[in-house]
Symmetry: C2
Subunit: 227 residues, 2 copies
């Protein structure tokens, strides 16, 4: 039985694993191949949201037709470029990520992972964290109708833990995590480890902002846990 | 004779060319090879400053010895990784960069480029912009004693144009550009195209912040030029 009625719902990329910049350049490569000329920083500001929504917005901003074929090719090319890069330079957990998760387990505070990514790119990162998806709820984009900034992923994660989303803390690195947290009436905790600015996270509703999981763990008493 | 007593002094990476994220991952690769385990976002927040200073800070933060050999290996490995990436996925000018420079030339407003990078990585980017370093002053890290956040690069650029630095506008994407501008008593104009947040640029003294060179050109009357 969990000791706590609070749950921690973690985003994956940029929050637990150091993979955001690799995702950004993998999207850049996929978009280049599709003839979509978009500055890298604009891609950075859009990722973390649903990949489909992301592709729709990019194609709309650049005036290209949004066909099912084009969206599917973007998805496949991004996954190929990302997985190739990850083989060359393995993606690593962020500092303190494993310790943060171990701490919550020790304290019997329930936690789950909720990511806008699909299992095809998320699986190796989850393995690198030492997380067993048969034990810990891992909600990927494949499992819900709408990904972030819709709150469905976090709501599904809280449901799987049997905790009310309103009593949950959503930990994420992007403004889409913070917006999804607000839409679900959860509290959002922002981490700078995805490369967004503190001001961006605060303006999108972060209740508190830390550097990375190690910094969150050092300040854990500020947000929830008591040992 | 220049019509204006104002000059525009441009940073290169992230300000005129879309190369910051590639530099970040090239540094990540060089640091990994050197056994320095540093999160990617922390590298992003440090680049744009002098490469030597950057290496010193990183090595100091990670507790490794700062030897001349190690600094030199980092420099060489970063340049190799960056140039390899740039061959695979060519670096492109940011939207509006060429138009911005052409506009200033038409208006006979002097401008120059001042970058913390060395000519070995800057040369292809300057070529991609269509800039001839025999005509336009291009001050690289090789030419001054201290790079950003020291103001030497921008002061040297203003000197070459024969304009007082105090009457100059420094256009850059990183907080190091804004700090160097303040130290030189110039006005700093921040661009978001290097992937830093608006709040970070404002807090480091940006007089005004725009998306990218195209957005600066659309708002040029706010900061200097009159046609």
């Amino acid at each position: 039985m969990p000791r706590s009625s609070t749950a921690f719902l973690f985003d994956l990329d940029g929050t637990l694993v150091d993979s955001v910049y690799q995702h950004v350049l993998a999207w850049k490569e996929a978009l280049d191949q599709e003839g979509v000329d978009l500055s890298v920083w604009r891609i950075h500001r859009k990722i973390g949201m649903s990949g489909g929504l992301f592709a729709n917005i990019l194609l709309r901003e650049t005036g290209l037709d949004i066909t099912t074929d084009r969206r599917e090719r973007l998805r496949v090319r991004h996954a190929e470029a990302y997985n190739r890069q990850a083989r060359e330079n393995p993606i690593r957990p962020l500092p303190g990520a494993r310790e943060q998760l171990a701490f919550l387990s020790e304290q019997r505070i329930p936690w789950a992972i909720a990511t806008s990514g699909r299992m095809e790119t998320a699986a190796p990162n989850i393995a690198a964290l030492g997380v067993d998806p048969n034990v810990v709820p891992v909600i990927t984009r494949d499992l819900v109708r709408h990904a972030k900034p819709d709150p469905d992923l976090f709501i599904a994660a809280a449901d799987r833990l049997g905790i009310d989303i309103v009593h949950s803390l959503v930990v994420g690195d992007s403004i889409w995590d913070m917006l999804a947290a607000q839409r679900a009436r959860a509290l959002g905790i922002g981490l700078l480890s995805g490369g967004y600015g503190q001001g961006e996270l605060e303006r999108s509703g972060a209740f508190r902002v830390y550097d990375d999981p190690a910094d969150l763990l050092r300040h854990i008493d500020e947000v929830a846990a008591r040992s």
